[in-house]
Point group: C2
Chain length 251, copies 2
């Protein structure tokens, strides 16, 4: 966990509100799910001085594609990069930013901003999700603005805006598309056992499967190639190794 000091936080808020080349009314948010063994978590930022959390998000520069903005925003706030970001929904309810957190943050730091400043406008937010092994990136050394931490998906703290809804929708999307997008997330070693695959599925989907049923379902997808057996020297029956067949991912 990284927490920046107060003056740095004030400065980054000032930098943000003085930026004039964002596309108005549009934001991007990144729902980064973290998986390891039997835990499923989500990456949250905590606001300074408030018991309030958000997913990593930000604004779109005039000179960049929407997708580039999502990747940049995620990098700036977490130093995660090269993730497969899957755009899953755009959130545009009229009341989604009514409880304007930015106003409270600016007031707390004694920063005066005119009421018609772009940051207080209505924002429609394009949400992306990803899935990583959270032990690969447990710390975020230079993350800006807030503390950055993994939270259990089933024990979310107090979330800003409609971010709790975003996380729930993101999780539905992730689960629904796991069969076709797992390869893109690059979570398993090149060769893996059926048990490793099953553990990943059970953790992400939040349910247990019978070993035979799971194996049958996976093989019926036609996405796996069976390789040699994996001998680890134990007296147990050696399991087969598998790898993913090359496939086209529609993004």
């Amino acid at each position: 966990m990284t927490q920046l000091d107060d003056s740095k936080n004030r400065q980054s808020l000032l930098d943000l509100i003085n930026t004039t080349d964002f596309v108005e009314h549009i934001s991007v948010d990144c729902i980064i799910f973290g998986f390891h063994k039997d835990k499923l978590k989500v990456l949250l930022l905590k606001y300074h001085d408030l018991d309030l959390y958000s997913v990593p998000g930000g604004f779109v520069f005039n000179h960049e594609d929407l997708r580039q903005a999502a990747a940049r925003v995620l990098y700036e706030r977490t130093h995660l990069h090269d993730l497969f970001l899957d755009q899953f929904h755009t959130f545009g309810r009229i009341d989604r930013t009514e409880n304007n957190v930015h106003q409270i943050l600016l007031q707390n730091k004694g920063i005066e901003v005119p009421k018609d400043h772009w940051i207080f406008q209505r924002f429609i937010s394009v949400a992306y999700c990803s899935l990583i092994d959270y032990t690969m990136s447990e710390t975020f050394p230079d993350a800006l603005n807030e503390s950055v931490e993994w939270h259990d998906v089933d024990k979310l703290p107090n979330m800003a805006f409609d971010h709790e809804r975003m996380i729930n929708e993101g999780l539905i999307h992730l689960r629904k598309n796991l069969d076709t997008q797992l390869v893109a997330y690059n979570l398993l070693p090149e060769k893996f056992t059926m048990m490793q695959l099953q553990q990943l599925y059970e953790t992400v989907l939040g349910e247990k499967f019978r070993r035979n049923n799971f194996q049958r379902k996976m093989l019926s997808l036609g996405t796996l190639e069976r390789l040699e057996k994996f001998y680890d020297g134990s007296p147990n029956k050696a399991p087969y190794l598998y790898k993913f067949l090359p496939s086209e991912i529609s993004v």
Copy 2:
């Protein structure tokens, strides 16, 4: 096919550019696929005086939710309503509106608009898709602005902006989600035969299936309830009727 006269078209363009309560930089587009027997089509509008087509789209008022805007825009331009609109992707490449069609249309009508008018700005567009039986709504009596027609999905005319890409992405989304969203599209009678279901699948997916394989796959989804046999008096073997089981649709 409906085509409005020139002065009405000019007036609707003037009304559009004089509107001041749209959320800037955001548009919505509706990819409406039409199915009947073995044909799959998509609903396109033709621009006045140009050999150029678009999907039905428009802007978002400050006072409405994104989803409401999509439904309203579709209704205004086609008089289609109460469709299940499924948001599938937001298109945000920086160059997507570079070839600004509105500029050409306005020039053609001799309407002068300052270069910094909101209509010439960068727009990020949220796209929705739907699937209907196009014989249920073949005519669009009061549709505004352009002619409205069904076009074969595999013979698209010259499309404006990135609308060809939108249609292609929409079709990928539709095909990928047909199993789970077919009920919502309400395309079949309450009771239907396996052959009716198969024809719909083959038309939308653009491929043929063997009868036994198709039936096995459909029954394995767990979404169908088998009912009584359907006797139509013909000497053929009477087929079973099916209906969809009640289910939750995630939107």
